[in-house]
Amino acid sequence: MSDLSAPGFPEEQVRRRARAGAAAAFPPPDAYGTVLFGAGGGAGGRYGAGGRDPLDALRIVPPVFMPQRLARLIDLGREPDYRDVELTTPIGGFVSPLPVYVSALGSTRAAGGDLGLALARQAGALGLPLVIGENVVPVDGYGRLGEAVDRALLGRLRAYAGELPEGRGGIAVQQSTEDADAEVWNLVYSDPAALPLLESGRLAFELKTGQGAKPGLGGMTVLDAASAARLGDRYGLDDVLDGGRVLRSSTPGTFTAEILRQQIRLMRNNFPRARVWVKLHPGRDVAEAARVAAGAGADAVTVDGAEGGTGWAPDAFPAEVGLPLAECLRRLAAAGPPPCLLVSGRMWEGGRAVKSLALGARAVGLGRAALLAAAEDPEAGLTRFAECLALELRMLISALGKYAPAALDRDDVWSPEFSGITAGG
């Protein structure tokens, strides 16, 4: 230690790197599995000092004159109120009671075990579509030949399907490059436990081209030495962390427009009875990628808005990498959005959801919020959370003189700074 100082310079961060080396590119490894990482909505971070997420900066702007309220009044023969908003929404070939789905639960520690099962059960009971994330099978197994069922894919699938009401919900199963080696989709497609979902049109496969928490990189988790030894032949392992912990990276996969197009076609060819979802990271060519995906026949295109996750990311990524979700939505709207656009990224309350829907999304994904709600009460935390979100959605949408999420449009939001959004009303 010297007495050298550098006021105004990130001196402590530099000193941390000088002490810890490559490990300092990441949050402290002790936080893995108990802290859900991602962008905050406040000042600083990716939007610069004092900056705000442009989606948060928007305001929801009800008009005075409401022809759609008149139409609902005529329809009902009485004044409509917020309880008359019909939230049921078709999502990627499924039907959801809310314009909401539950985002990927991967092989990460935070989403594993009892919490993952509790979340799957509650999402199933609510009839909310659920995405099961990548790497679950290579890391935790499928659950058919004696692996611990609580972590394995089959356990989550059963927990969800066991509670699912008739005609609602559905499961989308992701497959990463490493999952492709384990043939996760083929496994699920030919499994008797998945047959009821398949036969009722409630099974989708989600092709993942990237993720919001670290656009351009693959999934990352932190492993202890024993787990690392078990997975070493399948994943990239990097000994950059301290304390006997190892960084496990999936490869993000290589995509060009033609590779994406053909992979989607192959999914439709090989799994004709499953829906096809495609997940994009908030890349600068997100509109072009969404166009290719929809053109090749994807039933849903998801944009994961560079906000966070249950896994692990170098600090530089949440702070500095990826388009803000609002900018993704602007580019998608300008290019003509895919027929079913789903977005995720720090969704938890009605306002951010309504703004996303107004800017062209069909539904929003709950990631960290769903996990926290299930962690708060494994029996009914997500159920109560969804009740609250539904009430907020109904109130906000009816305040705009509208009675279905699909009726929202860009005139419903306003910002003085956000280019491309006109003052409406």
Binding site: T177, Y189, S190, T251
Partner: protein, 341 residues
């Protein structure tokens, strides 16, 4: 977990399948014996024909670190090979190409295992374990392979019809059904034409996908001799089928479909042997090139360009014998989800 039932469900549009009897009853049934004798004659005559054409028969491997990924919706079987994950072969394709380093013209009768989706239990056309008569020719084009497959099938059927009249009689199969086949000159249509014909007939066939099972059966039922469907779109087949340089997006490949509604008998193509092309196509088919290391290393050093095909032995037997379901053409049938010896 398996489905513990002996009666396969019927797929949409298919006639309900007969239940699979216990092995004793199946093996002693006169129809089974006749079908297996005809199958033997088909294979005997194929060997006769191919050896006469200068082919070398190889014994294909049953296990390996990687196998053919290009099987619609089915799951591969993993095995533990001294701590390494190996696969049972779903097809011999990778080894067929590699074998051309030893011989220019090869064939094999290859066992394949594919854990097909449960819905195939009712198609009458799928087995989880079956055999392919695999043929590969160095330096050949797709059209060479089509011509060879036609001559081979004509020879096999002709031989069976001439030498096995009692067995055809036992099965009640009228061999006049092959009058047109034995003249050769199988029909030929592009995939796009097949799609158009199916759509005209009210069947919603996707233009980007393989012909679905109902579609294949529909086209097949309208024909009096086998016919080739060529030029499948990329995205419907494995990475090894050559993309047509003159028609990007379409592959220099083919299927041979039987007449009378029996559907697909054979798939084949001209192969791509260009390393960068194969790696790119692997990505387009969602595959991880890393696991194909031995194959890619060989390709990088150079394997000959080739064309070839695989004829489903049990499917051809079913067609020739006129049986209701393909499992009847196997001594020990394995149907998706059905527990059997």
């Amino acid at each position: 977990m398996t489905t513990d039932r002996l009666t396969p469900p019927a797929a949409d549009g298919a006639a309900p399948s007969a239940p699979i009897p216990d092995p004793g009853r199946h093996l002693t049934a006169p129809a089974t014996r006749s079908a297996l004798r005809i199958q033997q004659q088909l294979l005997f005559s194929a060997r006769e024909f191919l050896r006469g054409e200068g082919f070398t028969e190889l014994l294909p491997p049953v296990i390996g670190p990687v196998t053919d990924p290009g099987s619609r919706g089915s799951k591969q079987v993993d095995i533990d090979f001294y701590g390494h994950r190996y696969k049972l072969m779903t097809s011999a394709i990778l080894y067929k190409q590699a074998s051309l380093l030893a011989f220019d013209r090869i064939f094999c009768v290859a066992p394949n295992v594919r854990l097909e989706p449960l819905e195939t239990a009712g198609t009458n056309r799928h087995l989880a374990e079956f055999h392919q008569l695999d043929v590969e020719v160095a330096g050949a084009s797709r059209d060479d392979a089509v011509a060879l497959a036609e001559r081979l099938v004509v020879h096999m059927v002709d031989s069976a019809v001439r030498t096995m009249p009692k067995d055809f009689a036992e099965l009640g199969r009228d061999t006049d059904a092959f009058a047109e086949l034995l003249k050769g000159s199988f029909g030929r249509m592009r995939h796009a034409e097949a799609v158009a014909e199916l759509r005209d007939a009210g069947h919603p066939q996707s233009p980007d996908a393989e012909l679905d099972w109902t579609g294949e059966a529909l086209l097949s039922a309208r024909r009096d001799r086998p016919f080739f469907v060529t030029d499948y779109p990329k995205g419907s087949r494995g990475f090894y089928d050559l993309e047509d340089p003159a028609r990007p997006g379409f592959l220099k490949n083919f299927d041979l479909l039987a007449a009378e509604g029996y559907g697909e008998l054979c798939s084949g193509s001209q192969r791509t042997n260009d390393y960068a092309e194969i790696v790119t196509r692997m990505r387009e088919t969602g595959e991880n090139p890393q696991k194909y290391r031995w194959y890619l290393d060989l390709v990088r050093e150079g394997v000959p360009g080739s064309a070839g095909f695989g004829i489903g032995v049990e499917r051809l037997t079913r067609y020739v014998t006129g049986l209701d379901a393909v499992w009847q053409a196997s001594a020990f049938p394995k149907v998706a989800g059905v527990v059997s010896p």
